[in-house]
């Protein structure tokens, strides 16, 4: 079912490990060169920057080519253009298959762009061919449903995690065609995700230490997050980044009381369940999602309860997060060999340092932008806030 052989992908994984270990000096340069020569995969890969640029230009070529086709050859009816879009979807998919199977491109940008475009063209084509210009019909659920199924296929075939995310997003639109009940819609979305989660959890146990583990880990994390977001009724009431700390859009009237309070209980239970599972399985993505869910629950709790949010709430959250980090670090550091229950706070890989360096550059540039004073006008009654001038400023408006 998968376009690449397991042996090829596992060899690529071995090469990645070797590179990391050589960087961390766990193997000597001579050992690295010897082992690298022996572990050759026929798959053609590239670095992340060229991958992104190749993706970009493939989208340009195919998008412009499609538009040119319509421009030059004929101006079809909506229905015919829908059929053509589906043909383009097939062509793009065939291109992705060829790029993967014949050219052996692996995370190369080109085959990825073709696969992504095939999903887009398929959805557009279905919509235009079957439903455009017709009265609203509940059968239109076919568009997101087929899109979701096709995205899942792309995920299984090529292993692109963002195709799995696309499938999850498309699923959100399906229940809207079946029922107008907000409770039912959320239940259905959460139900779809729960089914997916059950399947992923059942399958991934066989791949704990092979190349598929990371893909399943990411899929599981996304599904947990999806279930949480479908459950949390107040997530949309938050107008990020922070303008709505004091009050927000209250949509509680849309939901029946029992449903509303059940979801409140669930948004407290889910982070605990996910964090416990992540810690037990030592799954980085699941732990991260559990942490995100916990923070979101703390942020959403007051709106849920109808309590007034205070300006100092973010301060309390900040102190709490910092306190947890310091406590965990110290607790882990005081264990035998600075390890407790198989966990350590120490940096074990140079890869972590690289992530920290990149994160520092990006976050150092971005974070002040959202909390930086704007340019100083000449008038004395100027109030600042909103991020206009860059710089390391902080804090809303005075």
């Amino acid at each position: 079912m998968r376009i690449y052989s397991a042996a090829s992908e596992e060899t690529l994984r071995a090469r990645k490990f070797l590179k990391e270990w050589a960087g961390d000096r766990f193997v000597s340069k001579e050992q690295y060169e010897l082992l690298e020569k022996e572990n050759v995969s026929e798959l053609r890969t590239t670095n992340i920057f060229l991958r992104l640029v190749l993706f970009f230009f493939t989208v340009i070529v195919v998008g412009a080519g499609t538009a040119l086709f319509f421009q030059v050859f004929f101006s079809p009816s909506v229905k015919a253009s829908g059929v053509l879009a589906m043909i383009f979807a097939a062509v793009c998919y065939a291109g992705a298959e060829l790029a993967g199977s014949k050219a052996r491109l692996y995370r190369y940008g080109i085959e990825e762009a073709l696969a992504v475009l095939s999903i887009g063209y398929l959805c557009i084509g279905l919509d235009e061919a079957l439903f455009m210009g017709r009265p609203y019909s509940s059968a239109e659920f076919v568009v997101p449903a087929v899109g979701a199924v096709f995205s899942l296929w792309i995920w299984r075939r090529f292993g692109f995690s963002y195709a799995f995310l696309a499938a999850m997003i498309l699923v959100v639109f399906v229940p809207g065609y079946w029922t107008s009940s907000h409770e039912a819609q959320r239940l259905m979305v959460a139900g779809f995700y729960a089914i997916g989660l059950g399947v992923v959890v059942a399958v991934r146990s066989r791949h704990r230490f092979d190349y598929l583990d990371e893909a399943y880990s990411l899929a599981e994390a996304m599904l947990w997050l999806g279930i949480y977001l479908a459950t949390n009724l107040k997530i949309l009431a938050l107008d990020f980044p922070a303008q709505r700390w004091i009050g927000g859009w209250d949509d509680s009237a849309l939901f029946a009381r029992p449903f509303y309070w059940t979801t409140w209980v669930l948004i407290w239970c889910l982070p605990v369940i996910v964090l416990v599972r992540g810690v037990r399985k030592k799954d980085r993505f699941v732990i991260a999602v559990g942490g995100i869910m916990a923070v979101l629950t703390m942020v959403c709790n007051k709106p849920y309860l109808g309590w007034v949010r205070h300006t100092w709430d973010p301060m309390i959250l900040g102190v709490l997060l910092t306190g947890i980090a310091i406590f965990l670090r110290r607790w882990l550091a005081t264990g035998p060999n600075r390890i407790r229950h198989g966990f350590t706070a120490a940096r074990l890989s140079g890869k972590d340092k690289q992530w920290m360096n990149v994160g520092s550059i990006v976050l150092g540039q971005l974070s002040p932008q959202s909390i930086t004073p704007s340019a100083q006008p000449s008038s004395s009654d100027f109030r600042f806030g909103g991020g206009q001038t860059g710089g390391g400023g902080a804090g809303g408006e005075f």
């Binding site: 052989s5 596992e10 909390i371």
Partner: protein, 325 residues
Amino acid sequence: MQGVAGPENEGFVTILARLEQWKAQGKISAEQQAHLAGCSREEPFSLFLELNVLLYAGVLAFVAGLGWTVSTWSQQLGDVVALAVLSAILVSSFWYCFSRGPAWSAAETAQSSPIFDYVLYLASLVWSLELGYIENRFHLLSGKWDLYLLASAILFFFLAYRFDNRLVLSLALSSLAGWFGLTITRWSANPDDEYRKYALLYCLLVGVGAALLKRGGLKAHFFGTYLNIVANVLFWAVLSGVFERRGFGVWFLALLAACGASLTWGLARRQFAFVAYAAVYGYVGISWLIIRDMGETAALSYFVVSGVAMLVVLIQIGRRFGRPA
């Protein structure tokens, strides 16, 4: 996804089995095999990155709340209380940093404490917050607001170099950019000639400064941070000139020169971010000049042909230079 057993998986060997093989073949020692097997299984499991993200998010949330609280309640609290609170946090943070910080070295230095970087980041953000408060309440430098940004930039550069901190270095660079009148929001709204000149001046100052500091051996590992920021500011500035209807010729030449330099640097140093900058910024600029007076069909044809050409060139570059990073 497929399982790992079956005829289609001939030759499939997990990393753990490979390590066993390498040990048996004498390519790695038994100690190495045990250690590397632990690494591949993530045993022990390092929470280093997660705890750092938690600390960063905590500091940011705290400062955001602090700013919000001070701004909302300053009338009720009074200036003395507000400034006392801000100053207390600032002084205690700086006291911690200067009393616990590692001895200065021109080379890369490890921090004395895992939370050190975040205390310094907190101090830097609170400094900016307090300056903003003072200026807004007392108008000490009314009309010369940019001086605060310059002062902050100088302080942040000092702190970044004293304590070897990239987060604060990024703050310094964005404060300096603010002083030059550069912001992302302003850029998109008003990329006029004056801004471009300031942007180029910023690039020149930061680029030359970074090169001199690197040559002098002062925190040479910061050079990459400078170069990435300078490259992006430079490309945005030059591109905005190319988009002008008049006098774009000189900016176009500048764009070509910048693309050439970025491409050469990227290929020579195997830093493919710069190859990507040259490809994308260069393509956008050149395409704009070519298609702006074209008809729709010709423009679409251009995108198809030029896109294919770019793909061919990039694939060749990838084959020759671009192994996975």
